[in-house]
Amino acid sequence: MKKSLVVLLSFIAFLTFAFIILGLMFDKDDNEKQAGLTDVYDVSANGDIAYITYEKGVANLFVSNEEKPLVQLPVEDAITDTVFSSDGKMLAYTVAEKELETSEETEVHIYDLEKEEDKMVFSSDSLITELVFDPKTPDVLFYLQAGIVTNYSPVASERPHEFDVYSYHLTEKKQTKHTDMKKYSMMSLQVSAEKNSVFVQMDDDEHAETADDIFSSSQRIFEIPLNNPDEKSIISSPVQADDIYDFVIIPESQEIVYQAVGGTDENGTYEYELFTFNWRTYKTEQLTALKESSSNPKLGADDKIYFMVDRGFGQRTSDYHLYRIDRDGKSPTEVKLNAID
């Protein structure tokens, strides 16, 4: 018994040692684990699609049917947003470190698609989450910047907060801070093609006094006049009770296409769908019914709504697929992207 026990324990020790060696060989750093398509993309006026994929944690920026990425970043960096200029000839994108604890510095690059040149146009010590070209002035790039990246609760992970709207004049090389709101969250930045105003999604918590008030406040779409940001107003449906997340404004049809909760699956996981709200008729309609997590709507040059679908929503890793759908909600189809199998 004694001898057989020694043999048995020796075998267990050997097996454990072998697994430890395998662990040392195949353990991956968190930065190296990211893989596949992300939800960061844009569609241009001439039909191009810019999208980001990760391979072994390396961010690749692709445009439409290019076989090779326009840009490839070091493994520790991520692209937080990308956006085409109005004429589709420039592509702006933001580069920030994946580990926000290490650095919140963000670089804004512009890739000239005609000259095939990449240029870092400015950088910020804070995290820039979204970019958008001003349709009225192509030299102006608007962006959302977080004042702080922190966890307000000890049981929460670090997230960007204290958002405000900024812009950068590309020729004058001048940064301008347009708001002083320090919003807990702000997203889906869009710039009006006619007025001197921007549209963002944020919490409707201006009159909240207690923590419960803040917690029960809803997320709405606001128009912020840049010459007087205090005069901001809600432009999403006044009767919509649920939170509104991503959105795209389609001025010619006086519509907002937005993301909201459409229902829950059998496990209680939220299903996000796209809806349209017509601010002239106050009519709301459901656009998608994929029963997944549809997000990030954008209007394409083909007059179709592009959006991302996360088939892995609620699971540990996301599984993004780019879709497009007719404006009346018909024919949702997956968009084939060359860099994605």
């Binding site: 018994m1 324990l9 267990i12 697994f19 430890i20 040392l24 195949f26 000890p154 540990r316």
Partner: protein
């Protein structure tokens, strides 16, 4: 076995060495402690002595009588196993199943985490293998010199903590693996919990407690509360690891219920050892009330308000 004494007419001391060696081989097969082994050895030696006397009286030589007494008794290992089974039915089998299943689970979860997630949970693997190998070793080679209940329960509680953490690693895998491995981990933890009850209440009762029946009840109540509190604590540890950005000393407050539980448990056993039955049960009742009230308040705050 009946205890009887036989007259030692035939130079018993000459035979005792042979018989003692034989008896030692038998008692080694059991999970008994030193005191129980001494009692068991004494009893077995007495039986052998009687058999020897009878055989010698029938005309066999001393050597023949010694050999025949041992032969009639049976193979020492086989007798030892039968004694073990009679004293602690299926305990050894349960321990062997626990240790081997734990090792299979530990290697499987570690390998799947490594190759599907890229995460090498080396410290967890080492802890899981050490605790499982320890259980395997003490099952195959029981150590008598130690306080079995204390170290066995310590070992089993360590096992529960390590494999409860393992169940979280299993749940974290892809759906195709996580369902099977999670059920596997729950079965392992359940077996370990059953063994804690068994060890404390039935197999190795404390010799310090004269009120054995009441001690069993006090153990049952406290082990049950302890298991519930441990799982609640582990749930909060998991939530903190999942959502918290970094560890904070404030998180140690989640250990307070377990610390109080330990104090209450100790007080009850001390009171019972002093034969203060009613106060021991009063403390147990107060402990149940406290846990029940905390659970009630939590349920009311979580579901009651939204249901109103």
């Amino acid at each position: 076995m009946d205890e009887r004494t036989c007259p030692q007419k035939f130079g018993w001391s000459d035979m005792s060495e042979v018989f003692e060696r034989f008896v030692k081989g038998i008692v080694r097969q059991t999970d008994s402690n030193q005191e129980e082994r001494n009692d068991l050895s004494e009893e077995l030696l007495s039986h052998l002595q009687c058999a020897f006397e009878d055989l010698h009286n029938q005309g066999y030589s001393k050597e023949e009588a010694v050999q025949m007494a041992m032969l009639n008794f049976g193979d020492d290992k086989e007798v030892g196993k039968q004694l073990q089974q009679a004293m602690y039915p299926y305990r050894r089998e349960m321990m062997l199943i626990l240790s081997s299943a734990s090792l299979i689970f530990a290697y499987s979860v570690y390998a799947l985490q490594l190759f599907t997630r890229g995460d090498a949970h080396m410290i967890w693997l080492l802890l899981a293998v050490i605790v499982s190998a320890f259980i395997l070793t003490v099952t195959l080679r029981p150590v008598q010199s130690m306080n079995r209940r204390l170290w066995m329960n310590g070992l089993l509680l360590s096992h529960i903590a390590v494999f409860a953490a393992g169940s979280l690693l299993a749940a974290d895998l892809d759906l195709s693996y996580s369902a099977v491995l999670s059920i596997f981990s729950y079965a392992i933890v359940l077996l370990s919990i059953i063994l804690v009850y068994r060890t404390t209440i039935y197999d190795f009762p404390s010799s310090k407690q004269s009120l054995q029946k009441h001690a069993k009840w006090i153990h049952f109540i406290n082990i049950t509360i302890g298991i519930i509190l441990t799982f609640i604590t582990l749930f909060f540890v998991w939530a903190i690891m999942l959502f918290a950005g970094e560890m904070n000393a404030v998180f140690l407050v989640i250990l307070i219920p377990l610390i109080f539980w330990g104090i209450f448990y100790m007080v009850q056993l001390k009171l019972l050892a002093l034969k203060l039955k009613a106060p021991a049960y009063a403390v147990a009742f107060f402990e149940i009330l406290l846990v029940g009230a905390a659970a009630g308040i939590w349920l009311f705050r979580t579901f009651g308000l939204t249901g109103m």
